[in-house]
Point group: C2
Chain length 216, copies 2
Amino acid sequence: MPHNIPTPTLNRLPIYYRRLLDAGEEGAAYVSSAELGRSAGVPPAQVRKDFSYLSQKGRPGVGYEVPALASHLEEFLGLVNAKEAVLAGVGNLGRALALYPGFPAYGLHIVVLFDNDPDKVGQEVGGRTIIPVGQMGDTVRRRKIRIGIITTPAAVAQEVADAMVEAGIKAIWNFAPQSLEVPGDVYVKNEDLAAELAVLSHHVNQMKIVPEEEPA
Amino acid sequence: MPHNIPTPTLNRLPIYYRRLLDAGEEGAAYVSSAELGRSAGVPPAQVRKDFSYLSQKGRPGVGYEVPALASHLEEFLGLVNAKEAVLAGVGNLGRALALYPGFPAYGLHIVVLFDNDPDKVGQEVGGRTIIPVGQMGDTVRRRKIRIGIITTPAAVAQEVADAMVEAGIKAIWNFAPQSLEVPGDVYVKNEDLAAELAVLSHHVNQMKIVPEEEPA
DNA sequence: TAGATTGTTAATCGATTAACAATC
DNA sequence: TAGATTGTTAATCGATTAACAATC
């Protein structure tokens, strides 16, 4: 019944998943909502509610079966078949994401890198050759890639997004400080690092006045 | 009255701020809640409500004064005095953040880089020399740094966080996929890139079944 | 059985949105 | 004045939490 799952729930699922993997390695057959909740910083009732959206049942008095729940989450999150993504803008941040070790662990792979800087085109990053943005359309279409990552300067982000949408990309992870205009059937997740650090800085300033608790 | 500002509001403020800077450059003296709302993807009423928490008044029929509102937000977000941060773990991601051009634009500066890899200690990144983690305490205390960024492997994240807390860090931006235990007066913002990409991947999978709209 | 933990309902909490009188 | 846009209240929406009977 993956129908109308709250966004906060969705964001917690990968955290539960990670905890399940760890529990599995430790040899645990069952894990309780209390334990999963601890890993995500939420109360046990929240965990049970979250799983109720997925119709995932546990055993009263015992907990949730580790392998069964893990594989259900894998399927639900779309991690069963390796997912492929394309990345545009191979600056420092783009390079870091291209080489980030956490993605393959989730079956996620950045398979193509684009950049328009002639100095960068042709370079290799983690075994992938950087190709010019103009060739993006063909490649994305041919490989049926659906996820695009934008780590370009703000000035060209919209243009890159347009090209991605045109090529069939359906979800964009946007690291450029620039809000993107896309059709309604394309999902955009903005990751504005400077804005986030600014909020952190605000928290530090306020800390003596109003003690802040960590948001979920 | 910065008393009990909702987290979503707080996260929108830097977006409004950026729009105000742009509007200022375009020579606008006033900007409407409708326009600010567009930049953040929320309705005008939301913008007005957000400012009501800050007791920021606009002029009915006209809008909000660009320079006044911008400088109020600057102060509120703690961007007036340059903010300093320390970063531990100079891998690809750490390096990218250390060189990220968006931070200085907000008056935010990563002033010290730590790593325990003997090969990295002594290297320069953007004019800053990498020093060993063992020296963190003294430096953070001496410079009264309050913000710490963790881009280490998960295995050492807790240890680094402990050292940061011990040295007086009050806000931690944690990029390691590892939940941290810290005292109640320390704010932790987790940035789990793999989890976020996993959620994105899920959206792509679901897209044909349930059309998703972009969350605020 | 006794103890533990679930699933779910109802209560609570908090954020968003609509609506409109007040104001420039 | 007429038109535009604010500030704020009340209604709505949605997520979290408490509580407890049901179940292993």
